[in-house]
Amino acid sequence: MNWPLVPQQFVTGLLNGGTIGLIALGIVLIYKSSEVFNFAHGHLVMFGAFLTWWFTGGGAEAGGAVIDLPLWAALIAALIVSMGIGLLIERFALRPMTGQPLLAIMLMTLGLAQLIEGVTAILFGVELKSNFPAPFSPSDVLVIPFPGAFGDAIRLKYTLVATFAAATLAAALFIWFFNSTKTGLAMRATAEDHEVARAVGIKVRRVFGLSWGIAGVIATLGGVLLATVSGVSLNLSTVALIAFPAILLGGLESLGGALLGGFAIGLVQALVQASRLIEVRNSSEIAPYLLLLVVLLIRPEGLFGQKRIERV
């Protein structure tokens, strides 16, 4: 461990973890309401980032786009479009799969992921888009004195702080919606038992559609937050894959757990980079997966998940 680096990495990791947690939340939401594990969520994240980029006029260089919106308007437009995409996915890809075995549903989302990747490439091009409108420049840094740290201070990039604030705010808002509104109650009831939910008059199909729509919105938010830090490219889907270890760590059924898992994964990634050994530093991209293996071996249901009891 390179101790002087640890405070800085701790804070950075925690801030990055907010976005991971938000992305993880979208997957948990769909899993809770319809027991579909959405492997395409990372690609929805990427697509949302590309959409926002396009609405801000990012494609203008290529001579195509006429739309040139400010970032907030572009974000709203992208959120509406991605909500529609979520609804379409539910209607045309997942609804025919109701009652199919786990492998088939999993492969459906994997096929969906491939489709989204191809469509994104053909619509927006394959090269890295570096002209994503960032609200802050990289030099906007908040310096907090911290004796003992490297340079006796912790430097916080405004971008990171803003993404963290946005991610946690969105996550909190969403958890409030899920726990305290009538629609949220309907979604929770559907998650418990589809048949009972229908018996008390909840339109289960509408709830499925709604949860996919919301998941699309969350994915796009997450994508925009990732993009402000790392730019828009097809790699965003792989970056978003580290939400999977976060979910398993937090437990598949727990929204708060997903958020906490996100923080934990962000921390692990950042702290690994504070090591003195170059081999360990390089492993920050696979450290979440090693953690995933450990979680699976020790406590497969995660920290806050439900332990499964199998009946035959």
């Binding site: 025919p96 491939q114 489709l115 191809g118 469509v119 398993l248 390089n282 293996l293």
Partner: protein, 355 residues
């Protein structure tokens, strides 16, 4: 699939009961396809031969996945990573230990099988998509190890090492028409083995684990050993395929693919061909490889028309076509092409009466 047979069609001897080839047309079909496969280099052009070579080693990998996912029901997203292990093992044995390729090939399969066992251990603790995550972790960890450890042997962050051609007598295996025979013979061996696995105790135990693991355990199937055997066989076949691919492309490493995408495509091939059927891997791999060739062709043609978009046109049709094909198959024919073939045969047998 000797289960659904017309009334009055009995086996009178043990040999008849055990026969793989039952009807005259079975012999004819097998004979013709073997003849076509072995004479392909004589009448096919270079493109056809290299496609056939690619199909052959891909089928081996998908056959392994079929044992694990199709028969045993354990979802695996790491078949491509096990191919990478096999490719490296064979290459290192040939380069540094001076082994002949034909000795290194089975050793590479064993090496991949051993790595498969390690990751298969998680299957004892978890199943369903929890297991999918464990194999997903393998799919990230193995390629990462190949890039960041033992750099002088594994090629480091370049993700590629050169692999020599197999040596046997005076045959030049640089020609794909000669190399094709290696893939073909290995494929024949694995096919015969798998046909027999699927109808012996081992295969029936696999199927019982898939259908209900608790019931299987009560019937005396030891989940511990049988799940690990499935992982071992799957990884071994992936290792074989990887070794052949490495020597055929004369290079191995993450630069040559072996990514999560490839693992997903293997699963897609298996589902499109037909999970848990012996015919499935052949049909699925042929379908997807031809579909990919078609999408490359289409992309190339369109790129000729719109040269300013060539970057995205060349790469984006492949995932779109694969994704759409997989989704359509899952919705409309989840039992895959092999089931269509069964329906066709049944329809032919009952010809004047049904369909």
């Amino acid at each position: 699939m000797a289960i659904l047979r017309p009334a009055g069609d009995f086996d009178r001897t043990y040999e008849q009961d055990m026969a793989l080839l039952r009807r005259p047309w079975h012999y004819w079909l097998l004979g013709i396809s073997l003849l076509a496969a072995f004479t392909l280099p004589l009448w096919g052009d270079a493109y056809l031969i290299s496609t056939a070579n690619q199909i052959a080693y891909t089928v081996i990998a998908v056959q392994g996945l079929n044992i694990l996912t199709g028969y045993t029901g354990q979802i695996s997203l790491s078949q491509a990573a096990f191919m990478l292990v096999g490719g490296y093992a064979s290459a290192l044995l040939v380069i540094h230990a001076g082994f002949s390729f034909f000795i290194a090939l089975p050793l590479a399969a064993l090496a991949a099988g051993a790595i498969g066992l390690i990751f298969g251990l998680t299957s004892l603790r978890v199943k369903g998509f929890y297991l999918a995550f464990a194999t997903l972790a393998a799919q990230f960890i193995i390629p990462w190890l190949s890039r960041h450890t033992f750099k002088e042997y594994l090629g480091g962050t370049d993700g590629a090492i050169e692999v020599p051609l197999p040596q046997l007598g005076g045959v030049n295996f640089g020609e794909v028409s000669n190399f094709y025979y290696i893939s073909l013979v290995v494929l024949l061996v694995t096919t015969v083995l798998l046909f027999n696995i699927s109808r012996t105790r081992l295969g029936r135990a696999f199927v019982s684990v898939r259908d209900n693991d608790l019931a299987a355990e009560l019937l005396g199937v030891n989940l511990f050993t049988y799940k690990l055997r499935a992982f071992f066989i799957a990884a071994m076949l992936a290792g074989l395929a990887g070794a052949i691919k490495a020597h055929s492309q004369r290079g191995v490493g993450t630069e040559f693919g072996y990514s999560l995408n490839e693992s997903i495509i293997f699963l897609g091939m298996l589902v499109i061909g037909g999970l848990g059927t012996n015919l499935g891997p052949f049909l699925g791999v042929a379908f997807i490889v031809l579909l990919e060739d078609f999408s490359n062709l289409l992309g190339g043609m369109l790129a000729g028309v719109f040269p300013e978009l060539s970057g995205q046109l060349l790469t984006s049709f492949r995932p779109i076509f694969f994704g759409v094909a997989l989704m359509l198959f899952l919705i409309y024919e989840p039992r895959g092409l092999a089931h269509r073939w069964q329906l066709l045969r049944a329809g032919w047998r009952l010809r004047p009466f049904a369909r």
